[in-house]
């Protein structure tokens, strides 16, 4: 992952089509175009896993079905705990076969329609529910030396609790960290960087103008009339966190993509 930071490789979020899409073929084509554009730019395409509990198709099945090229350094799959054991192993096996190495392991958001892994599915005997920690342990145990595993850090949660969780994630085998979206300097992220100087940290830049969506996503209240320019904020984050990589969430492919080329200098 350090290679991504040294070579200024952006992590670009690409959302897969939703399960309830009424124009699935069109949405798949759109996904494919975005994915290929990220590949062509030399960036890393990060495919979400039922983000916010909204049922979507899996990145791995889309890559397989559409026969999209996988450049190992340029693809990251999010993987959460809302799967059946069979689905989980299926996703991991496709990643292995296709050469997808980067996985972002998160606990994730559930929904009525999403099954949840049971502790016994991942060989966990000491917990009542599966979190990213148990999933990390399982992948490291069952798929040794196959994947580069990252985890999420939420600076909007109580710091003590979040850092304690991070310690367990690192012990379970996480080797890089991606923060929740930042729109300014964050002291808790600063302390995370101090605590783990050897672990690559990628800060997430919120690229949507709709700040209320960020409030809803992370429970971080932002005043309604806050002035916000995503591209300026992105440039500011590079200055504030020069040693970190950057993950671009909700990037506008039509309106913003061409602007990010010169932002990481």
């Amino acid at each position: 992952m350090i290679h991504h930071i040294q070579n200024k490789i952006y992590h670009v979020e690409v959302l897969p089509p939703k399960q309830d899409s009424e124009k699935l073929e069109k949405d798949l084509e759109r996904f494919s175009n975005k994915y290929l554009r990220v590949m062509d730019s030399g960036y890393c395409a990060c495919i979400t896993d039922n983000a916010m509990g909204l049922l979507s198709f899996q990145g791995t099945e889309i890559i397989e079905e559409l026969d999209l090229p996988v450049i190992p350094e340029q693809v990251m799959i999010h993987l959460n705990t809302f799967h059946t054991k069979d689905d989980l192993d299926n996703i991991l096996n496709i990643c292995k076969t296709k050469g997808i190495r980067y996985l972002l392991i998160i606990t994730g958001d559930g929904s009525e329609r999403l099954p949840k892994l049971h502790p016994s599915d991942v060989g966990a005997t000491d917990v009542e529910s599966v979190t990213s920690v148990e999933l990390l342990k399982y992948i490291n145990r069952e798929y040794p030396d196959t994947f580069v595993l990252g985890v999420a850090f939420n600076p909007y949660e109580p710091e003590e609790h979040e850092l304690e969780k991070m310690e367990r994630k690192i012990k379970a085998g996480a080797t890089f960290i991606i923060t929740q979206p930042l729109i300014e300097r964050n002291e808790i992220v600063d302390r995370l960087l101090e605590k783990y100087p050897g672990i690559p940290v990628i800060v997430e830049a919120w690229m949507s103008r709709k700040l209320h969506l960020l409030s809803e996503a992370v429970g971080y209240e932002i005043p309604e009339n806050t002035e916000f320019d995503p591209i300026s904020t992105l440039k500011m984050l590079h200055k504030l966190y020069p040693g970190c990589g950057v993950y671009l969430s909700l990037l506008g492919f039509k309106t913003q993509y061409h602007l990010i080329k010169d932002t990481w200098v």
Partner: protein, 262 residues
């Protein structure tokens, strides 16, 4: 085994609007989903077919757009689907709906088992499954939480009720309605979804199933909704717990115990 799974497309909202005149849900412009309880019925049908062989058929009655829910059932493994759709079916209550579905089941023929979700989330009546059994004069078990055993001529199920459960054995053909505990419904795969888009879903009209038109639609529905109103608002209050993490946790636990929640 030949199985029919009856499914319903329902509004994807808890904020359904009611037509003040007809007292029925206004479905126009509302996003629709497969009734969540029916996903368990579909999954059970697919699992039984995978285990014992045969065919599983999804059946629904509704407007043309209900075809989307039937395609969803195909995308998770159902072999084929049939939609009952015609203006004459419009306004059917649970009795008329179960009559039409029973007529369609008869037309499909040689069915061993009909599976329904325990109820639909829009009407919440839980009457259509039992209604189908009544119209067909077949044995039925409602609120099934497990299929214990199946032989060539019978099925043994575990039924959930308030005080525990019953074990019931029924000869085929039979109708069961299922609860959430019965399985974990699979999420449609992309491959399945793309394949389902290519399937043909035949639409049957009253004449196709030999339905007596006086027994369907508003004319065939004995139910009259006299008044509909939302439940009274709940009185809630918020209490802020302050202190250290440990103090907060202790206070929360105390509050929950006081209310017999834990």
């Amino acid at each position: 085994m030949k199985i029919v799974v009856c499914i319903k497309q329902v509004p994807a909202t808890n904020d359904a609007k009611i037509d003040p005149e007809t007292k029925r849900i206004i479905r126009e412009g509302m996003k629709a989903i497969l009734n969540p309880f029916d996903t368990y019925a579909v999954e059970e049908g697919v699992q039984l077919r995978d285990k014992f062989g045969g065919e599983v058929i999804a059946l629904s009655m509704g407007p043309p757009k209900a075809e989307a829910s039937l395609r969803e059932a195909i995308s998770v493994g159902v072999d084929r689907a049939i939609l009952l759709s015609d203006r004459a079916f419009g306004g059917s209550d649970t009795w008329a709906t179960s009559y039409a579905l029973a007529k369609a089941i008869k037309k499909i023929g040689d069915i061993d088992l009909v599976i329904c979700g325990k109820q639909a989330i829009d009407g919440d009546t839980a009457q259509v499954g039992p209604g189908i059994a009544a119209h067909l004069d077949w044995l039925q078990a409602t609120y099934v939480m497990a299929v214990e055993e199946i032989s060539s001529s019978s099925i043994r199920v575990k039924r959930m009720h308030e005080d525990g459960y019953d074990i019931c054995e029924m000869s085929f053909p039979a109708v069961i309605t299922v609860v959430k505990d019965i399985n974990t419904p699979r999420v449609p795969s992309l491959k399945g979804r793309l394949a389902s888009n290519k399937c043909e879903v035949p639409v049957w009209k009253p004449g196709d199933i030999g339905a007596d038109t006086s027994k369907i639609g508003l004319n065939g529905s004995p139910t009259r909704v006299v008044k509909t109103q939302p439940p009274p608002p709940r009185h809630t209050s918020t209490k802020k717990i302050e202190g250290s993490s440990i103090e907060c946790a202790q206070s929360l636990l105390r509050e929950l115990r006081l209310r017999s929640i834990v």
